[in-house]
Symmetry: C2
């Protein structure tokens, strides 16, 4: 029996994770659930999945939940509880699915405590990939990706030698604006940007999918997870999202992992890896699939992808700047403060003002993150 | 250094095999070449690849070659030389790429002698799959498929547990007549049937691709190679031949192997398996690939596929009957004796006249093969 803590249980990945875990009651238990502030859903999850304890990041929401549950379950709140929680002896696996920079510290603590990491939080590897992978190696910890793209690559690499990889090919749906002209992109609305054709996800990642920043962050993640140089990571647009990613080997052979766009498949694989278990998730019926399309991403249409690759090539603190500027800019777009095309404009401006610090320790990464957020806010306010 | 004998060196697979082997002069040597009767090409191969010896199945052609080479190289001919040759101590790998039933006996002898088999001859597993796989297990011999479809499945299975396979999905290009109506199929010419859209192959297999018998034979092969029941083997039409086949796992995840339609890739993989080596074979550029289509094969349009699956389900000697009737019928079509749609008509008729013998020993398989060929010829003559 493996005991699991889900960091971000009320998010999209967290909800799917609980569903997957509940299908294997003899093998996995969702022992602890950590939510940001959605205590309504967290209460439902307590009733449905019976965890040992829960935690709420927002202290006010935590107090409310404490009153509502009236001592019937352990409820943690306060600034540092996650770092304590992930190190507990009664936890084997940490599903790291918080949105944004907040996922970094608890993931580090979990690796130091030797927990297996099922990693859905992109920012952890984007801002501190080298540190995290080093730490995982030192602590002999598995970091298993939950992202459908990196799960696909992991599945294609099973039984293969990493030295025989020629390149990895990350597929991108292209999001809702794949066929939208650059002129029209300047005036698209938040609702249009949130209308992703294939995947149901949280707002932040849905906007990142529309700008292709999501794919850019995945390029940086793939670099760290699989130890590949930037020029061995390619992005291809595949609007149907059936091929989740591919690996080309040195002999010219390519392997791909495919499936319906349902995060439960990579979540389950992250838990059972390197084995597989039965599921009744929907299957692809290739006799009815019809078409799969592929095309090259247009760098004019999707400047965020180019910015992410530039940040990876610069290295050091630059991916932290990219990520922080993006978080603030996306939030500003969601708040109707800036236009869709201004997201990349903000990021590019903030990146160009930054002097990269190489091999940054954690406190420098955190300071860069804080400083970049401030700068991006100032820049956005100066536009208004 | 691995010494290789190529059974069928002047055929399409044989020529590609020689090319692949010549790229690894420190690791592989094409020590012996066996041809049917194309001594012009065989002489060129002798000059180019410098084998220790060659053999010619056609005795007359063999005598001519003996005179031409004038003792400068060992030349074998005569009815049983192949069985002796494949057992020689200075051979490690047998590439079994003869066309038709002739590949069976030498492959059995090679397995008995403990040689690694790179198997391109379909009929070996179609007519004697259980016997061959048993023999391989007993002699601890690897049978590595060269067919692009079975190589694809093998590559998708590397590092995976066979018990986690839900089904395999063989892709079929659909051949030159994918979009041809049944009415028009009745009058297509030999030249039209030989005009395969994606692959350059010998005449027999090209016609088998046009009827989809080739895919039917591959279903039977997949059953034996991977120990899967018929209902776990699906066929999907994929006209672009970029996905060479797929495996669906019990968790709903699918893996596919892809590449340009070039047999050198699976040939090289069969030699280096389970490792991979560099190649400069053409790559798929997914940014320029455009489309991949999929559809269900139409059983009315392609009755040979249905007949092959029926033969597999009946088992015993029925696949031998299917194969022998098909070889004769295809030859008759190539000779303009019967029409394209009469190929399946002949096979169906001969199969319906056959009473299946279960668990046939080799002599029964051979007798069934001989008898079926006679019956099919008589039937064809009765049509004329």
């Amino acid at each position: 029996m493996k005991n699991i803590v889900i960091l971000g249980s009320t998010g999209s990945i967290g909800q799917s994770s609980l569903d997957v875990i509940s299908r294997f009651p003899e093998r996995y238990r969702a022992s602890y659930l950590v939510a940001h502030k959605n205590i309504d859903l967290l209460q439902q999850q307590i009733d449905m999945y019976n965890p040992k304890g829960v935690a709420v990041i927002d202290e006010c929401a935590g107090s409310v939940l404490r009153k509502l549950t009236n001592g019937s379950i352990e409820i943690l709140t306060g600034p540092d509880f996650m770092e304590e929680l992930v190190q507990r002896d009664d936890i084997d696996i940490v599903i790291s699915s918080l949105v944004g920079f907040a996922g970094l510290r608890p993931t580090i603590k979990a690796i130091e405590a030797g927990k297996t990491i099922a990693l859905a939080n992109k920012e952890t590897l984007v801002v501190a990939g080298e540190m995290i992978m080093d730490l995982a190696r030192k602590n002999n910890v598995s970091i298993v990706p939950v992202d459908s793209e990196h799960s696909a690559i992991l599945q294609c690499l099973v039984g293969e030698d990493l030295t025989s990889v020629a390149k990895v090919i990350l597929t991108a749906s292209g999001g809702p604006f794949l066929n939208t002209s650059i002129e029209t992109l300047k005036t698209v609305t938040v609702d249009e940007a949130l209308n992703h054709p294939n995947w149901r996800m949280g707002n932040k990642i849905t906007i990142d999918s529309a700008t292709l920043m999501n794919k850019g962050l995945e390029v940086i993640e793939a670099h760290h997870l699989f130890g590949l140089p930037p020029d061995k990571i390619e992005v291809v647009i595949h609007p149907q999202s059936i091929i989740h990613s591919m690996v080309e080997f040195i002999d010219g052979s390519v392997k791909a992992q495919l499936g319906v766009p349902d995060m439960k498949i990579p979540i389950q694989y992250a838990l059972t890896y390197p084995e597989r278990s039965n599921s009744n998730f929907e299957r692809v019926d290739f006799r009815k699939t019809g078409m799969m399309e592929f095309r090259e991403p247009d760098p004019e249409q999707f400047p965020c992808l180019r910015l992410a690759i530039e940040a990876l090539q610069k290295g050091g603190t630059m991916p932290t700047v990219l990520n922080a500027a993006n978080e603030i800019a996306v939030q500003a777009f969601l708040n109707n403060e800036i236009s869709f095309m201004q997201i990349s404009g903000c990021i590019e401006r903030v990146m160009s003002d930054h002097t990269t610090i190489m091999n940054p320790p954690l406190d420098v990464i955190e300071a860069t993150d804080r400083e970049t957020r401030k700068q991006t806010r100032s820049f956005i306010e100066s536009i208004d």
